[in-house]
């Protein structure tokens, strides 16, 4: 044979050798996979996800004094105290790579479940892969409504999706209207990937249904060098409420450009994402005073629930920042998974799936403002009630729904 063929033989044989040297799930250890963007423009999300999940593991794997499922025990009690170990993989925002990594985690690392994955496009292929292998996929933070509507048995989403978030936002606007405030026109400002598309589709529908006029419908290319023309359209429309769906970089550019063009939105009601990221708030926080955003997580209610500050302190020590919308959901996904493992008493796909489907965790035993965690037939937690928060100073205050509010909302943001 010639050198070319030899090269093939050698490379495939050494690849096989590599496989057998991989750390296999040893006795007393349960491996879970996590697929996140670890490089590229959203790498920071992956870095924070890692910290969030590690925070959960710290609580699960050692006896911890906090009111969360699985905290008291060391590891998973029903599986002989086996410790949970998470292997992280980078999907680089590419659905094919996400699928490849999920498959690798399942077949090589023997992961019993997958957590992921921020980008909804990747969650689509990861979810399909998990379904094919009969391994549960806990979708921590991808919020596209289409994900749980594909008849997947192994898909579980503890957190809310875009329709639930946007409904809460419009409920709030309805309330303001009832109280006599001027809320007639809205402006949609959304980036052009799945996140922005999903969000704006729902918002457009709700605006029509609830009698709000859409004064501007601006779709922009994510990570553009300039947003001047787009912001000018918003300025010309001068809507009562700006409804933006942007990632971090575009939030920074949007607010800087708005300031440069002398545009101060009357109100901002954001779809979280970039608007609750430290990087954005550090640089344009001064321009976002009084902004409202939907949230999965209410840090300011820590006074009412000790577990919130307990967990936040651990996370902050690791990550150098507070828990936010995304990291809190990643944390909870891990807790939910551990709880299911405990009830299943098995790492096999079907028993674990059944245990997840039977999940019923009361809201007080979580760090979220949810009523409870209970999945419906499609795997969606319909009780993941979102809240609205207002940005004041450097913190967020929960202002809606009234039942859980910690402060009165200030409306309008800019007169």
């Amino acid at each position: 044979m010639n050198r070319r063929e030899a090269l093939f033989q050698i490379s495939s044989l050494s690849a096989l050798a590599l496989t057998s040297l991989q750390a296999r799930a040893a006795g007393g250890e349960i491996v879970v996979g996590a697929v996140y963007p670890m490089s590229g423009p959203n790498a920071q999300v992956g870095v924070d996800a890692r910290h969030a999940i590690e925070t959960a593991l710290q609580i699960i794997n050692a006896p911890t004094q906090v009111d969360l499922p699985g905290a008291a025990a060391s590891g998973i009690a029903s599986l002989g105290g086996a410790k949970l170990r998470v292997v992280y993989a980078d999907h680089q925002a590419d659905p094919q790579k996400g699928r490849s990594e999920a498959e690798r985690l399942i077949t090589q690392e023997k992961a019993v479940a997958i957590i992921g994955s921020f980008h909804s496009s990747v969650a689509a292929t990861v979810g399909a892969t998990c379904e094919r292998y009969g391994v549960p996929f806990v979708c921590a933070d991808s919020s596209s409504p289409s994900l749980h509507r594909r008849n997947l048995k192994f898909f579980f989403r503890p957190a809310a999706h875009d329709e639930m978030f946007s409904e809460a936002m419009f409920d709030f606007m309805d309330l303001q209207k009832q109280q006599g405030k001027k809320v007639e026109t809205v402006a949609l400002f959304y980036e052009d990937t799945i996140f922005g598309t999903d969000s704006s589709t729902v918002q457009r529908k709700l605006a029509a249904a609830r009698g709000y006029k859409v004064a501007a419908d601006v779709k922009f290319r994510a990570n553009s060098p300039s947003l001047s023309a787009e912001v000018q359209q918003l300025k010309s429309a001068n809507a009562d409420v700006l409804l933006p769906s942007c990632y971090t970089t575009d939030v920074i550019l949007l607010m800087n450009t708005a300031a440069q063009l002398g545009f101060k939105p009357h109100n901002i009601l954001a779809q979280a994402a970039g608007f609750v990221e430290k990087a954005a708030l550090d640089v344009v926080g001064d321009k976002l005073q009084g902004m409202l955003t939907r949230a999965s997580f209410a840090l300011d209610t820590a006074g009412k629930r000790p577990s919130i500050s307990f967990v936040n302190n651990i996370f902050k020590a690791r990550a150098g920042r507070d828990l936010n919308d995304a990291s809190s959901r990643q944390f909870m996904a891990t807790i939910v998974l551990a709880d299911a493992l405990q009830r299943a008493g098995s790492v096999e796909g079907e028993p674990l799936r059944a245990a997840l489907a039977a999940t019923d965790i009361p809201g007080e035993k979580t760090i979220m403002p949810w009523a409870r965690i209970k999945f419906d037939a499609t795997g969606q937690n319909t009780f993941a009630s979102p809240v609205l928060q207002q940005f004041k100073g450097k913190d967020f205050a929960t202002v809606f729904p009234t039942a859980v509010a910690m402060a009165q909302p200030v409306w309008p943001m800019n007169a």
Partner: protein, 343 residues
């Protein structure tokens, strides 16, 4: 008379040597294909199989690109357009109208060929970098159009329904072997086409034009129509690759099939392996793709960028140490020159 006898003898020697060389090429590819066909029997790990499939896919795409870029000299930086056309045509026809992917593949190939002819007609008169940027720009327009066109799902993409394993729909839940054999077949086809092109009149014209630009004036229309044909061929093969990719991943969106990085990933293996050579694309793919995958998978999870550092450094190293392509390492260059005679 003496000189005539010597020269005719020398010519016969050259021709005979060339025929032997061509025959050796055919035997080589049969051997390589045989070895590759055995791989799924030796390698059972799903991840490794995935890497093998991607390697052969990119080898096929690179080989297809090489027809237009390496042999013909038209450097396209927008081949992702054809990849996307194949992926989208197949997906839309299957998901919306139930047309089996095999037929969708044919439709995609025809559409891509038509697009290539249009592009060629508009842009072949452009020289060098202007042509390349034009191809890049047209591919970007395609990407933006798909990103905003509701009919093909815009940013939401197209999800293939999960169904039972079947060759008809080219869907296999866990088994990767069928996919492997498909791309192996695709690679074999692209190789055979390249082989034919290399030995054909087209190949002769294009080499003449590359060596002597003034010759292009006199060969004019002939060369132009051969280039058009090469473009159509290259595009349709790329589209078939795209169709395969859509069936393989079962979910596509604009960024995942039409992004510039795909165009780049079709060109890099050829440059690494050797432009305008028969084995360059495969060689380049065999080195580049496993490297990309393995660095991301085993080093990327940390989020530190280590995988990018290693990948980038290795790519730089190869380009500095062996700029004309790695094919030269295997003596092919020498063999080709010796048998075919100096160009």
């Amino acid at each position: 008379m003496g000189t005539a006898a010597v020269s005719s003898g020398a010519t016969q020697g050259v021709v005979a040597g060339y025929r032997v060389h061509r025959r050796r090429q055919v035997l080589s590819v049969l051997a390589v294909l045989a070895v590759l066909a055995l791989l799924p029997l030796l390698v059972h790990d799903a991840y490794l199989r995935n890497v093998l499939i991607l390697t052969l896919l990119y080898a096929s795409l690179a080989q297809a690109w090489n027809i237009l870029g390496g042999y013909c000299g038209q450097i396209s930086l927008g081949h992702a357009l054809y990849f996307g056309i194949g992926a989208y045509a197949t997906s839309v026809l299957y998901v919306n109208y139930g047309l089996l992917p095999w037929f969708g593949m044919a439709v995609g190939a025809v559409l891509a060929a038509a697009m290539a002819l249009l592009l060629g007609w508009m842009c072949f008169r452009l020289k060098g970098h202007y042509f390349s940027i034009a191809t890049l720009v047209i591919a970007e327009i395609g990407l933006l159009l798909m990103h905003n066109w509701e009919f093909v799902g815009a940013a939401m993409g197209i999800q293939w329904p999960l169904g039972p394993d079947s060759w008809a729909t080219l869907q296999f839940a866990r088994d990767k072997a069928p996919y492997f054999y498909f791309v192996l077949g695709l690679f074999a086809i692209t190789w055979v086409i390249s082989f034919q092109v290399e030995g054909s009149r087209w190949g002769y014209w294009w080499r003449a034009v590359k060596d002597n630009p003034e010759a292009s004036e006199s060969l004019g229309v002939t060369v132009f129509s051969s280039k058009m044909a090469a473009a159509a061929l290259s595009a349709s093969l790329t589209a078939v690759g795209g169709s395969f990719y859509a069936a393989f991943v079962a979910y596509i969106d604009p960024d995942s099939v039409m992004h510039f990085r795909f165009s780049l990933l079709m060109v890099l293996p050829v440059v690494l392996g050797g432009l305008g050579t028969l084995w360059g694309p495969l060689l380049g793919a065999v080195i580049l793709i496993p490297l990309t995958e393995v660095t991301r998978s085993y080093l990327g999870g940390s989020g530190t960028g280590i995988d990018l550092i290693i990948y980038g450094a290795l790519v730089m190293l190869v380009s500095v140490l062996k700029p004309e392509g790695l094919v030269g390492l295997f003596g092919q260059f020498r063999g080709r020159r010796g048998a075919g005679g100096a160009a």
